[in-house]
């Protein structure tokens, strides 16, 4: 009986053991499969990186206005001391200019080599550039693009994968020694190491070595949470053993060095030694000194507590401990140790990485999502090279901030309104290339992410008027009775009859000027006179042209549209005005210029793409009139604020002053500014009052770096000096003259008959908006 009971128990025990073994094997296989999948599959999500455009330095550039020092600092270039030899990424002011050791960098389709250069500077302007190693004179230099932001899913983990052989052996040995000195002799778990770590820590009086092996740490980071439970620890150990059975030590170590968390830069987590090397020292690992290497290896234990930015003394002490460890283990000589221990901390400038252009990044994300699925954008590590200029973006943000703050100070009612703060948008583009160089979608991204530059549908008001003149001048080429800048127009109330109704355009403050020229009608933004020209050109022609040059929002087929009674976005206005600025060629606006994959191969290229959408001559004529808006018309506040370069623009104010606009351009740069309330409440200010100061502040700073240039007339335009009142060719007797642009063949042929006495003197202050 007893024997039978024993047999039964034995059988049960064997069965239980067999089942347990089967379960254990099953679980091990499961764990093994997980390990294999992780190692062989995609180990990390790589956010796409968004870069600015590369910045060009050339003789003639004003380095102060271009913010060269700011650019260098954002790129982590380090100001070097006088007696220090320059290393890559260093710069130094000299009596004649700046010595600059440019880093090498990869740009889509090209590799730009490092270069030690001297910029000879006279009164802030680069006068010559020379390669200090070859003596060669240089004519242009590129600064590497700035990282603007990452496109990530929930957390921004910044890492660059690097192979073991591309890391300096000293760094690899330092990491192994500090974290797991028996790494090459254990099988994933190291009982001796645990005892040794305990003993070392006791002897050094602090945590110098950890008990977990590198493999265990990797398994924990790959798969497991931070919780300190026995179950998790067992899993970690089993997986470490499994990983060691399947993969070489080098594979495990390489993964570890790419995986480890090494700090935090604002929103951005710093992972892997390559990224950490850039973050702490602004250099790739290959360029680190022995002291840097020791510091980096020492940081693994507690990156934030030992942060050299926040706790330099603790970081230095930790570095010295690691150096001692290297010396004790004969990894370095006494001389190397002595030299390294006296090294200062070569730290990069501390700057929390904030997204400098959040609205632009949102715009880009939206744009790219048409071609790239979300998970590709957030995990495949694409490099997205954009047209953004970070310095101009900063100028734009500051112009909006300062402008709105000043408005609220001058008009306290704006700040006291309960329905929300007054908002603004600014978009700046290069008309010739369609490059969007700056975009501000609102005054505070943290509060509201609605991108007004791209999505706000607002009435354009008088900012639409140049399109009327563009249509008129374009039609003039083949018109027997063409509209020219000197065409007389009656600025008096009139009725425009159309299908189903009658429309009566009224001037601002009901002030009318009688007979004026087409030029004065635009310069003074006269509604009645502009509407008469529009009536003459025809609504269809104007609407067709508006669509062709970039107004994509549907425009109502009613005459009032010619005074801007429709809804458009600032981006559309920028596209349409860019056509005027680019002499009738439409360069499609673009934020991205190239997309590369993680290996640097070009996935997509978005080059400049142009299309002739209106004659160069008509576009030039309109731009020429718009210069007058700044010099004599409603936009003269631009000149009063001190901006003297050749520029053209137009103000806009809508009914009840709900929207205030200014759109204008120099030959190289165009900017559109909108100011208003999100809920469409009356702002009570004109474009000249609210938008012009912001525009001028921006354009003044944004154009100051380059030498000024003038608008160049196309070949089909004749520039003739005339008497502005009679329209005749100016004679020496004319008291006032102006240069006017005509289609060749339409220029006046008769000299000014006399100065017309009956034209009323025009008071711009009482004119339109």
């Amino acid at each position: 009986m007893v024997r039978r009971a024993i047999l039964v128990l034995a059988a049960l025990a064997l069965t239980a053991a067999a089942v347990s073994a089967a379960v254990a094997i099953y679980m091990l296989r499961q764990l093994d499969a997980v390990v294999v999948e992780k190692f062989n599959g995609r180990r990390w999500n790589f956010p796409s990186r968004i870069y600015s455009d590369a910045f060009l330095i050339y003789p003639g550039l004003n380095v102060r206005a271009a913010g060269l020092t700011d650019r260098l600092q954002r790129l982590n270039y380090r100001p070097a001391d006088d007696d220090e030899p320059l290393r890559k990424g260093d710069f130094r002011r000299t009596p004649t200019g700046i010595d600059l050791f440019l880093r090498d960098f990869s740009y889509p389709g090209q590799h730009v080599a490092d270069r030690l250069v001297h910029l000879a500077i006279d009164r802030d302007v680069v006068v010559a550039m020379r390669d200090l190693r070859s003596g060669q004179e240089l004519y242009s230099l590129q600064l590497e693009p700035e990282l603007i932001s990452g496109l990530y899913d929930s957390t921004w983990e910044e890492r660059r994968e690097v192979s073991l052989q591309d890391l300096p052996p000293q760094l690899v040995r330092a990491v192994v020694l500090t974290e797991d000195r028996r790494f090459y002799s254990h099988r994933g778990v190291d009982p001796i190491g645990i005892v040794r770590a305990f003993w070392t820590d006791m002897r050094q009086g602090g945590v110098v070595q950890g008990g977990s092996t590198l493999t265990q740490q990797l398994m924990k980071n790959f798969f497991l949470s931070e919780e300190r439970t026995m179950r998790r620890k067992v899993k970690e150990v089993l997986m470490a053993v499994l990983a060691e059975r399947r993969y070489s030590k080098d594979e495990i170590l390489e993964n570890y060095l790419n995986e480890i968390y090494l700090g935090q830069n604002g929103l951005q987590g710093i992972f892997g030694v390559w990224e950490a090397s850039q973050f702490y020292f602004a250099r790739p690992p290959q360029e680190l000194s022995l002291g840097d290497v020791a510091l980096l290896a020492g940081l693994i234990r507690a990156p934030n507590a030992l942060s050299p930015f926040r706790r330099p003394e603790r970081a230095r002490a930790r570095r010295d401990t690691v150096l001692r460890l290297l010396l004790d283990n004969r990894e370095i000589s006494q001389a190397e140790y002595d030299a390294a221990i006296s090294e200062p901390l070569h730290l990069a400038a501390v700057h929390a990485r904030a997204n400098a252009a959040p609205y632009f990044v949102d715009f880009l994300r939206e744009d790219l999502s048409r071609n790239y699925p979300h998970d590709v954008l957030t995990s495949e590590g694409l490099g997205i090279f954009t047209t953004l200029d970070v310095q101009l973006q900063q100028f734009a943000s500051e112009a909006v901030d300062d402008g709105l703050r000043e408005l609220e100070q001058r008009y306290p009612r704006l700040a006291q309104r309960p329905g929300g703060r007054v908002q603004a948008a600014l978009i700046a583009v290069r008309p010739q290339t369609g490059a969007i160089v700056a975009m501000v979608g609102g005054r505070d991204y943290e509060t509201t992410q609605f991108n007004r530059a791209v999505h706000a549908q607002r009435q354009p008001g008088s900012i639409f008027k140049p399109l009327v003149f563009l249509a008129a001048f374009d039609a003039a080429r083949t018109d027997d009775n063409p509209v020219t800048p000197t065409t007389p127009v009656l600025d008096e109330p009139f009725e425009w009859h159309y299908d189903g109704g009658t429309w009566q355009p009224a001037n601002y403050r009901d002030t009318y000027f009688g007979q004026v020229t087409a030029r004065r009608a635009l310069e003074l933004s006269l509604n009645a006179a502009t509407s008469r020209i529009a009536n003459r050109v025809g609504l269809d022609a104007i609407l067709t042209l508006a669509a062709r040059i970039g107004i994509e929002s549907p425009l109502p087929p009613y005459p009032s549209v010619v005074l801007g009674a429709a809804e458009v976005t600032p981006l559309e206005v920028a596209q349409a005005y860019a056509v005027i600025a680019n002499q009738g060629l439409k360069a499609s606006l673009r934020g991205a210029s190239k997309v590369v994959d993680r290996q640097g191969q070009i996935v997509e290229r978005r080059p400049v793409a142009v299309e002739r959408v209106v004659s160069a001559e008509a576009a030039y004529q309109v731009a020429h009139l718009m210069e007058g808006v700044l010099d004599r018309g409603t936009g003269r506040g631009v000149r009063e604020q001190g901006f003297k370069r050749p520029a053209a623009g137009k103000t806009g104010t809508t009914n009840d002053a709900r929207d205030a606009w200014f759109a204008g351009f120099t030959p190289e740069l165009l900017a559109v500014v909108w100011v208003g309330f999100d809920d469409n409440a009356p702002l009570g200010l004109t474009g000249a009052e609210a938008a012009v100061p912001i525009w001028t502040n921006f354009i003044q700073r944004a154009t100051a770096a380059a030498p000024p240039s003038a608008f160049q007339p196309p070949s089909g335009v004749a520039l003739v000096r005339i008497d502005p009142y009679t329209g005749g060719i100016a004679t020496p007797a004319c008291p006032e003259t102006i240069v006017e642009a005509f289609w060749r063949g339409q220029e006046p042929t008769v000299a000014c008959p006399a100065h017309s006495p009956h034209l009323p003197a025009v008071e711009p202050a009482a004119a339109g908006t």
Partner: protein, 210 residues
């Protein structure tokens, strides 16, 4: 409007040379039987970054053009520094094009425009780059800009640009426009043989220089 940045994108000149069949058949050249046929547009484009390569007429025309002064000779002591820097970038881009590195050339030419938006040479070589990649609409538009910018100041370059534009119109099957462009080229530089040959090819007698 964001769509403007994607939906209106031009064909990528370096990645996908336009198929020759895209050339429109808006009209036939009046003297088609006598003219050297623009047969190259029927050939398969070369892959990758290679230009279409067989725009024999375009290249022949370039050789026959009135030779403008070398690009760097346009720089003198009075040249504004940004214009000089841009012109040097264009020269570098031209050399890269000649070496077949079209991606780098495009980069240089776009940079030249960024620092000197009125640089006719940058637009000229952009037009040439697009013509060689059969993105004719782009070639036409850039040649237009190049011609417009150099018309008064550098007639030889204007003539060259109009000739290039004529080549692009011709390759795109827009023969009436090609005639107009060649005519303007001859007006700018009466000795422009390439333009005269082009004009004859598309069906008009060569103009007698005024």
């Amino acid at each position: 409007m964001a769509a403007a940045c994607t939906t209106r994108r031009a064909p990528l000149p370096l990645d996908s040379p336009a198929d020759a069949s895209e050339a429109t058949d808006e009209e036939q050249p009046a003297a088609a039987s006598d003219a050297p046929a623009v047969s190259h547009i029927e050939e398969e484009p070369l892959p990758g970054d290679e230009p279409a390569g067989n725009d024999a007429d375009a290249h022949d025309a370039a050789e026959l053009s009135v030779e403008p002064p070398p690009l760097l000779d346009t720089i003198d002591a009075t040249t504004p520094p940004n214009v000089a820097a841009a012109t040097r970038l264009v020269e570098a881009g031209r050399a890269q094009m000649a070496a077949g590195d079209y991606g780098a050339a495009l980069e240089q030419l776009e940079r030249a425009i960024a620092i000197d938006s009125g640089n006719p040479y940058a637009y000229y070589y952009l037009a040439e780059l697009h013509l060689s990649h059969r993105t004719y609409d782009q070639a036409i538009a850039f040649a237009d800009r190049a011609a417009s910018l150099s018309d008064a100041r550098a007639p030889a370059w204007a003539s060259r640009a109009y000739t290039l534009q004529g080549n692009a119109f011709e390759a795109a099957g827009r023969f009436a426009d090609a005639r107009g462009a060649y005519t303007r080229a001859i007006q700018a530089a009466p000795g422009n043989l390439a333009a005269q040959v082009g004009l004859a090819r598309v069906g008009a007698p060569a103009l007698t220089p005024p």
